[in-house]
Amino acid sequence: MVGTFAAIGVWGVLGYNNNSATPGFWSAVGLILIGLVVAVVASGTTALIVELVAYRPLRRRNAPPLAFLITAIGASLVISETFGVFTHRNQVGAPRLVPPKDLLVFGNTHIRILDVLIIGLALVMMFGLDRFVNQTRMGRGIRAVAQSPDNAALMGVNKNRVISLVFLIGGLMAGVAAVMYALKVGNARYDSGFTLGIEAFTAAVLGGIGNLRGALLGGLTLGLAENYGGELFGTQWQTVVAFILLVLVLMFRPTGILGEALGRARA
């Protein structure tokens, strides 16, 4: 949500708002890149601030997981409501940077440029993240802290720095997603993050918490399920489909499709 506002904001500053005509190809590319940078910085910074202000003091005090959840809810409320007050709870429109033209057409199936762009961007991010976590030194540190913080510390890994890094990465990914969202959905609302957050959680659980590739699979599965559900029942029921899927997964296969790498859903 922060990311969407950041991107739309900078585009507005640069002279493109929701009433502008679609810019030319190179302008669009430039704008999208600028939007990405700004959104990523905004989201990442927000994530880091929340980590430092809200979670780190709890970690220092050995708070149980429930305390983190409550604080997370509080932080989410603060951020979304602040934006809500500043936007008077109205949505802010985004410029249409990518023309709604088709790239390919197979019979009745239209594949739009925008969708290809988004999928491409998503794939790049997924591969990048997967490589980072599994094949770099910092990624090893992340996995070590995730599996056993104390042992990781004994091996010389700075736990706090790793956690900050993880939040930063999360924020980065969210920033990219924000730009995609702004381009696709076309607006920003103060509460747009909430539903997406729940869906993100559902996707992660679906694939198996702590399992990166599981999360990818989960996201894909969730997207498919929601859209099919939307076709069957109507688009307003999409989120309901997501929730019901979450409950079903937690009841019948709490370890997720690919199995959990960490933690357990069952008490």
Binding site: P64, L77, V78, V240, L250
Partner: protein, 389 residues
């Protein structure tokens, strides 16, 4: 039999008393509590009646010389504000049962409030597709029952889940209700809502209705009575095997079950009772409003009620009351004042305010303003416990 006792693993609980005003305050509250506990039962009864009497007189607080006008809300009718306080306190009490007694974090508590309200609306409003048009009083029991049923429906699949997963699912539940409300234009009627909702029955001797549209005082008193009933009920449960079971479940669920506690049954009951109280709030709310729609039941309200419980002190009744009162009183008191930057009424900032307070309270005083005698939800530093788990 002689046992050579090792020195206790734990030193006695009283924290080192800091000097200065904070220390003296703590000593004062500590001794006040002990004095209260040592009273004979009838002494406490008289004390409670006095407190109730004072609460009932709150609508007249504006008449206290000097400070009266400062206390009461200016941006909104004081009696209306008091009424809102009662159903928020009710919600806080209900959530307290679920969170504080059974240790289950319910982030979608407003869902039960909505169910109670919608049930009554469906049975009584002329806009409802059922066209039953019952009186408020006749519809109320159904509001209770259906809330409880949904409490069990939500509780049953989520019982085995770990705390944070449970919370997310409860969040989803409330959202499903809101989405359903917005997506069923004939059933729950979205933001068109339900109009001509009836009020509770009763007339004064001269024929005027007690629960009219102009004076909120009778509603406040009705809410107060509901609060007292809920407090009595919760207290009765707390001081019985039910309360013991809940506490045992919260302290160590597996050990409790091994000691014979039917954990599933008691957790479900906690959910059901929490749902019932939420539904009670909804039912009273509908009796007051002439009209209601889906915009009332947004997620932020669940979080606000959670903030009330966390802020006031979870796991104890005075804490829930204090929390519920604060989250309504403070924003209402600040109505009419706008912030200089966006020129929004400060009332609209209440979510930001309480979100911040949640964060701060979780860091610095997770047990809340009125800490429970039992360290509810184990939110504090867990380094010192009976034995490593």
């Amino acid at each position: 039999m002689t046992t050579i006792d090792k020195p206790p693993v734990e030193t006695p609980t009283a924290p080192a008393t800091p000097q200065g005003p904070l220390g003296r305050f703590r000593q004062f509250t500590g001794s006040a509590r002990r004095w209260w506990k040592d009273l004979p039962w009838w002494g406490r009864l008289i004390g409670n009646v006095v407190i109730f009497g004072l609460a009932a007189l709150l609508p007249y607080a504006g008449q206290i010389p000097l400070i009266g006008p400062q206390i009461i809300t200016t941006g909104i009718d004081w009696n209306s504000s008091l009424f809102v306080m009662t159903y928020y306190v009710l919600l806080a009490l209900g959530l307290n049962v679920v969170v504080g007694y059974a240790g289950m974090l319910d982030l979608g508590y407003v869902g039960f409030f909505a169910i109670g309200a919608y049930t009554v609306a469906l049975f009584t409003s002329s806009d409802s597709l059922f066209h039953m048009q019952w009186s408020w009083l006749a519809a109320v029991p159904f509001g209770f029952v259906i809330s409880m049923i949904f409490g069990v429906i939500l509780g049953w699949p989520t019982l085995r889940l770990r705390g944070d997963y449970l919370a997310i699912v409860t969040l989803g539940f409330a959202e499903i209700i809101r989405i359903t409300a917005n997506s069923t234009p004939n059933f729950l009627r979205g933001d068109r809502g339900f109009g001509s909702l009836p009020h509770p029955p009763g007339s004064w001797s001269d024929g005027t209705k007690i629960f009219g549209v102009r004076d909120a005082k009778p509603y406040f008193w009705l809410g107060l009575v509901a609060i007292v009933l809920v407090i009595l009920a919760v207290r009765n449960l707390d001081r019985s095997r039910v309360g013991r079971s809940w506490l045992a479940i919260r302290e160590d669920e597996e050990a409790a079950e091994i000691m014979g506690v039917r954990t599933v049954k008691y957790k479900l009951w906690a959910f059901a009772i929490g749902a019932l109280v939420g539904g009670l709030g909804g039912v009273i709310f509908v009796g007051y409003q002439g009209f209601m729609n889906s915009s009332t039941f947004v997620l932020q309200f669940s979080i606000l009620v959670l903030a009330a419980v966390v802020l006031g002190g979870s796991g104890n009744i005075p804490g829930a009351i204090l929390g519920g009162a604060l989250i309504t009183y403070i924003p209402d008191r600040l109505r009419g004042i706008s912030d200089p930057i966006t020129h929004t009424d400060l009332y609209q900032w209440r979510f930001v305010l309480f979100g911040l307070l949640i964060i701060i309270v979780m860091i610095f005083r997770p047990q809340g303003l009125i800490p429970s005698r039992r360290r509810a939800m184990e939110l504090k530093d867990r380094a010192r416990e009976v034995a490593p788990q």
